[in-house]
Symmetry: C2
Subunit: 242 residues, 2 copies
DNA sequence: AATTGATCTTTACGATGTAAAGATGGGAGG
DNA sequence: CCTCCCATCTTTACATCGTAAAGATCAATT
């Protein structure tokens, strides 16, 4: 009469046969014991859980991303993630680290593809926004600090690399070297301005708060075009007539 | 044997005697029936709940802001909020509306106090950031779209007023009239740039992500000073030497 | 004065995070 | 080869949360 809790839980757990996309997992056991379709020891649960988490996040959004949902998606018991991540914060932090690495890779590759100086200057912000639009859930996690543990090395490093890349780009654009650790006020302001602008734009865009503006712009103006205009046009004064 | 749920709940509910800060509540009953310290009908539960929610938010942060916690804080049963807000989304939305009204008032009053043109141009962004720093929880709710219902009139109006004030200020700064509903690309870009910059800066600041930059700036540089520099200094090129 | 409808409480249920104890089996040491 | 250990995963349990539904209470209307 105390099993009320597990009733629905057990009933739902159909346990799909762990269609792991990374077929390289479980090198030891494998075809030796065919009797048990889902061996007790997964072999690569950590990675499988992170992939499952990403899938759940894309499918059900941030609200659906729970420890138990991720465990279900991976086909393991609801308490299995605990051993690998300790906590919901732990899982989210590691997932955010994955996101930052994807993010950094996307930024780096898009920068390499630039040819003209103007293109080079716009490539990074565009890639920033493009990543967020392609992976809104990921972006949401990465910048939702309340449930993140930055003392975790993987997250700290990935996020740090992201910031370093940004600061570097700004420095190059200003044709200065960002020397070591010290910054002048104007250097700091340039970095903070660029970051704030792109990050703020992205946040507002994902929250749908720019639709109001976009709707009033000339027909068919995209968010990317608006971003370009934001970054290109001088800060104040009358715009040049058409 | 099915009362396991209510056990701890009831045990905790000490029911403080509703020390309502707004003494104007319950005009009808009052001193007539002294026997019941907490009358069955509160009289102004809606407002009391919103105030309680704000208190809980400031004390326990976003994570602690639950329907039940708010009900506890207000000294009513955990299901009482349902009748007034329907939903957690409802409560959060109404609370966000309160926040937007506070926010708008702060912005307006700070704009009136400006004397020089430069001061006037900086007053609004400074007030923006200042409000967020003074009420981080509120700000978090106001711009956390996922659990907000913008179809609610109070929230929609309050947020709309906030946006209108911003757009107006940008238009005045550009010495243009924002005519009706249409916007040129440059006008839209100016609005989006200003909003993105201030909102992004605020978000990054509240998330502690600017501490890295602030720490590398000249000794004792505050966030407000950095914001000023962001808004004052030209966007690119070498800074003027000291 | 009886009724009614709004307001608040009780009770109940499914879901979640987390802790703790039990099961499993790969690998180390005899 | 056998046994034992321990990392890994499962079971079980519990406090809390959001929400729904039914019951209690009371002010106001008829």
């Amino acid at each position: 009469m105390a099993k009320i809790d597990t009733k629905s839980e057990t009933a739902r757990r159909t346990r799909p046969p762990r269609t792991s996309s990374t077929a390289a997992s479980r090198p030891k056991r494998g075809a030796a014991s065919v009797k048990s379709e889902t061996p007790y020891h997964h072999g690569a649960l950590r990675e499988a859980l992170l992939e499952a988490a990403e899938r759940v996040l894309e499918r059900d959004g941030l609200a659906g991303l729970t420890l138990r949902a991720v465990a279900r998606e991976a086909g393991v018991s609801h308490a299995a993630p605990t051993h690998h991540f300790g906590d919901l914060t732990g899982l989210l932090s590691e997932l955010a680290a994955v996101g930052f690495r994807q993010f950094n890779a996307a930024m780096a590759s898009s920068c390499d593809a630039a040819t003209t100086p103007l293109e080079a200057a716009l490539a990074r912000p565009k890639a920033y926004v493009a990543y967020a639009q392609a992976h809104p859930g990921m972006y949401g996690i990465m910048f939702r600090t309340e449930r993140l543990d930055y003392s975790r090395p993987s997250l700290h490093e990935a996020a740090e690399a992201s910031f370093a890349g940004l600061a570097n780009a700004i420095g190059m654009m200003r044709q200065e070297r960002i020397s070591g650790d010290a910054l002048t006020l104007n250097q700091g302001a340039a970095i903070a301005r660029a970051w704030s602008m792109v990050h703020g734009f992205t946040t507002l865009l994902l929250d749908g708060r720019l639709e109001d503006i976009l709707g009033r712009l000339p027909e068919g103006t995209t968010a990317e075009r608006l971003l370009e205009a934001m970054l290109t046009v001088p800060m104040a004064g009358k715009p040049p007539g058409p």
